[in-house]
């Protein structure tokens, strides 16, 4: 054992204190210098100073220097521990010190940003929090992270662009992948698009190329019609159950697929083109979809058996099977769903000529023609309205069914709408095209501004409205069946009336509904219901559950390019995890003092994790023991012990009490 390790185990209570200014984020409110000076009076503190940016290299160097000079423990009072606790623990690791002798105190989010107008009180509060941190770290016992062998396999949930990209990237790094897709077909939302900006690539060609690469890769096992139904374990060793629902059709169906589909009597809305057409209960997503043969929609199939009479390879049994899997990490790529306008929103649902942008994309892709015919009539004038279901305003926009509003910008729709306006002008040069945008156009991104310039050159006419003055749509009996009245900011608030044949709503993105996954895996959602990463800049693709990564639109609205980039990022992070033979778990698990334990075993029923606490015989005495690999460290067992024999390592009751005492004490009395 090195001399440095011995220093840790001697458990000396020599604490170094660092107070971060965070530029002025903290020091504009808190007297950082004063707090640092005051902290020198605290018990066990051997060093205290303030610095502009503790997370910077020079800031971290200060901690190293303090450790070199004899400090054995440290606290940094700075931003949220969620941002830089790991940064500072790594300073300890670099110095071959025990990282658990570091304590992070939050005086930015929880002090300076919350109390900007009461500077004296904020400074006093910072002192108490620093004292609390010192008290806690002073009582820190020696902690060692338990290690487990990691399973070198990753589960990817979602078979759209994000999931496919992540699976392919992982396999390219020799990581075996299990990919599960809930629907019977691969490709996700991208298969519903036509051409993709910025290069007008064919969406299907691109996604098909990726699908083929995934399907031909021996390291990737693809399961359609499959979903996760149970989840347990921790980073490196997740145990999951996958439910596979039979497809009902095998590739044996061959060329008779068309016949089987044709004879099916059940007709339902076709979700592939957002309800513009109908499909049967035995169906193929689109010609050329993957897999290349149909599937049965068990919700709508009556099992009449007619399809099976005309084609081979059909089995009308839909009892699911279950598969248990063990993986080291998980990539969530469950994607988005388009916002569904409510009835009456700009006339949607009240007139058939009010449609959504995804519907128009599908229609144009499937109906190449020299004229755009809608509802039996040539479209001479089309108006595209931006920000439908995005950038909602309180008391103006109608809340969703759950009462929430989509305050966010969906990011893709401005450019997608401009892209469509250009497409309409290219395909139908005589058509009058209007774009009504809410306050501004956000065609951010390399080359995207060109779409706006090009549309202007093609005489697409733009109108700008305020969020509180939404355009009003009227249904008329005139030549053009719809009329839009808008107060146009581009003409200094002139009231404009736009007769039109078609209104196209540029709908925003909403997170796909995955309540079971959220509930099982406890992955946090943000205010907008997308899944939250640990930090948008520092850890942008990591969920706040170790070993779970976020790929693509599961975490925010984004373009397909951004979704692919995000998925590659998630795959890279998962691959780093998979590259380790041994994974360190958190050391914060329950520990039983066997000399105090009298074998009452009251802790056993208090614990909800099977096997985490078990009964053992030691020298003829019954005692409780903890399996650290199964214990989650919640501490629910702690109050159940009448002897006080159980503690959570690193979060002991003595530490909490010391913190409470420090928080309660008047700093002037220290």
């Amino acid at each position: 054992m090195s001399e440095k390790k011995k220093v840790d185990e001697k458990n000396e209570e020599k604490v170094a204190v660092f107070i971060c200014h965070c530029g002025g984020n903290i020091s504009d409110v808190v007297d950082c210098e004063g707090v640092a000076e005051w902290a020198k009076k605290l018990p066990n503190v051997v060093h205290s100073e303030d610095y502009a940016f503790m997370c910077s290299d020079p800031g971290q160097k200060l901690i190293e220097e303090a450790l070199d000079k004899g400090a054995t423990r440290a606290i940094v009072a700075a931003c949220s521990p969620r941002l830089h606790e790991l940064t500072f623990q790594n300073v300890f690791r670099r110095k071959e010190r025990n990282p658990y002798y570091f304590e992070h105190v939050n005086i930015r989010e929880q002090v300076s940003w919350s109390h900007p107008h009461t500077k004296d009180e904020a400074t006093e509060k910072s002192k108490r929090l620093v004292a609390s941190g010192v008290a806690k770290v002073s009582l820190q016992g020696f902690l060692e992270a338990p290690t487990v062998e990691a399973t070198k396999k990753t589960l990817v949930v979602g078979g759209g662009l994000g999931g496919l990209r992540a699976a392919k990237d992982l396999a390219d790094k020799n990581v075996p992948v299990i990919l599960v897709e809930k629907s019977p077909f691969l490709g996700g939302r991208v298969t519903q698009l036509d051409t993709l900006y910025p290069k007008d690539d064919d969406a299907k060609e691109l996604i098909h190329e990726l699908i083929e690469e995934v399907l031909s890769n021996e390291l990737i096992a693809v399961h359609t019609n499959s979903e996760v139904t149970s989840f347990a374990g921790s980073i490196g060793n997740y145990d999951l159950t996958i439910k596979h629902t039979p497809r009902g059709v095998t590739s044996k169906i061959g060329e008779k697929a068309a016949k089987a589909i044709d004879i099916c009597p059940e007709v339902v809305e076709n979700e592939y083109d957002y309800g513009l057409t109908k499909r049967k209960a035995i169906y193929q997503k689109y010609p050329g979809s993957y897999p290349s043969y149909p599937a049965i929609d068990w919700v709508n199939c009556t099992k009449c058996g007619k399809c099976a009479e005309v084609a081979e390879g059909i089995t009308l049994e839909n009892d699911p099977t279950e598969q248990s899997i063990n993986v080291g990490g998980i990539v969530l790529a469950t994607g988005f769903k388009p916002y569904e306008p409510y009835e009456g929103e700009y006339g949607f649902g009240q007139h058939p000529n009010v449609i959504t942008l995804p519907q128009l994309i599908r229609h144009l892709a499937d109906n190449p023609s020299e004229e755009l015919i809608w509802n039996g009539k040539k479209v001479e004038r089309a108006a595209l309205i931006h920000c439908v279901g995005s950038r909602h305003r309180e008391d103006i926009d109608k809340p969703l069914e759950d009462g929430s509003l989509n305050y966010y910008c969906s990011r893709y729709c401005c450019t997608a709408t401009l892209h469509m306006a250009n497409e309409l002008k290219d395909k139908f040069p005589d058509m009058h095209v209007f774009e009504l945008f809410k306050e501004d156009i956000r065609s951010y991104g390399w080359g995207y501004e060109d779409y706006y310039t090009t549309a202007s050159e093609k005489n697409v006419r733009f109108f700008s409205f305020l969020g509180e003055e939404l355009p009003q749509v009227e249904i008329t009996e005139k030549k053009h069946p719809l009329s839009i009245t808008v107060t146009d900011r581009l003409t200094f608030n002139e009231t404009m009336i736009i007769p039109t044949d078609l209104i196209v709503l540029a709908v925003g993105m909403m997170p796909e509904e995955i309540p079971d996954i959220i509930d099982m895996m406890k992955v946090p959602q943000g205010a907008e219901r997308f899944l939250l990463s640990v930090h948008p800049k520092l850890r942008p693709v990591e969920a706040d559950v170790d070993g779970i990564y976020l790929a693509g639109t599961v975490q925010a609205p984004m373009t397909s390019t951004e979704a692919a980039i995000g998925a590659s990022g998630a795959a890279a992070k998962a691959a780093i995890l998979m590259s380790k033979d041994i994974i360190e778990l958190q050391p914060y698990v329950a520990e039983i003092n066997e000399s105090l334990c009298k074998g009452h075993m009251t802790c056993l029923p208090a614990c909800s994790y099977a096997g985490a606490i078990y009964e053992a015989e030691v020298d003829g005495k019954t005692v409780a023991r903890v399996n650290p690999a199964l214990c989650k460290g919640c501490g629910t067992c702690v109050p159940s012990c009448p002897e006080g024999a159980i503690q959570v390592k690193g979060w002991t009751l003595d530490q909490y009490k010391a913190q409470v005492k420090a928080l309660a004490q008047d700093p002037s009395e220290v």
């Binding site: 989010e109 109390h115 501490g635």
Partner: protein, 136 residues
Amino acid sequence: MSETEDFKPKILIITNLKCSDPGADYVGQSHLEYTPNAFIMRTKDPSVFPEEFYFYCFEQGFDGVIIMSGGTDTPFKGAYEALAKMIDNVYVSMQERGIEIARLRLTAICSVCAEAFIKEMGRIVEAVEPLGPIKV
């Protein structure tokens, strides 16, 4: 001057790592304000505390204690149910010891529940202020 005049209750806020502590961060990120006389102590989960711990907090001089748990969103199975049961027991003991039960509040705050955090802080301050300083 009455005892409660200019009285600013000293509040201990107990948060949990996955839900309410990020929620408290979100309050700061949203630049929402609450009384600076409230001090956050983060925990892995507040279900760790035995009954006596709450009396220890009062003995140390906290006029009110608000437990911001994750509610049923807490990542630990059975933890919230155990915590709720514990707090029920603590309320009984508080009454037996002559401590007003309004001084202890159990809430559920999520990682983005900034407004709920502010509302709950307002509620406990409003409840404790008329009671005056803790006497144990």
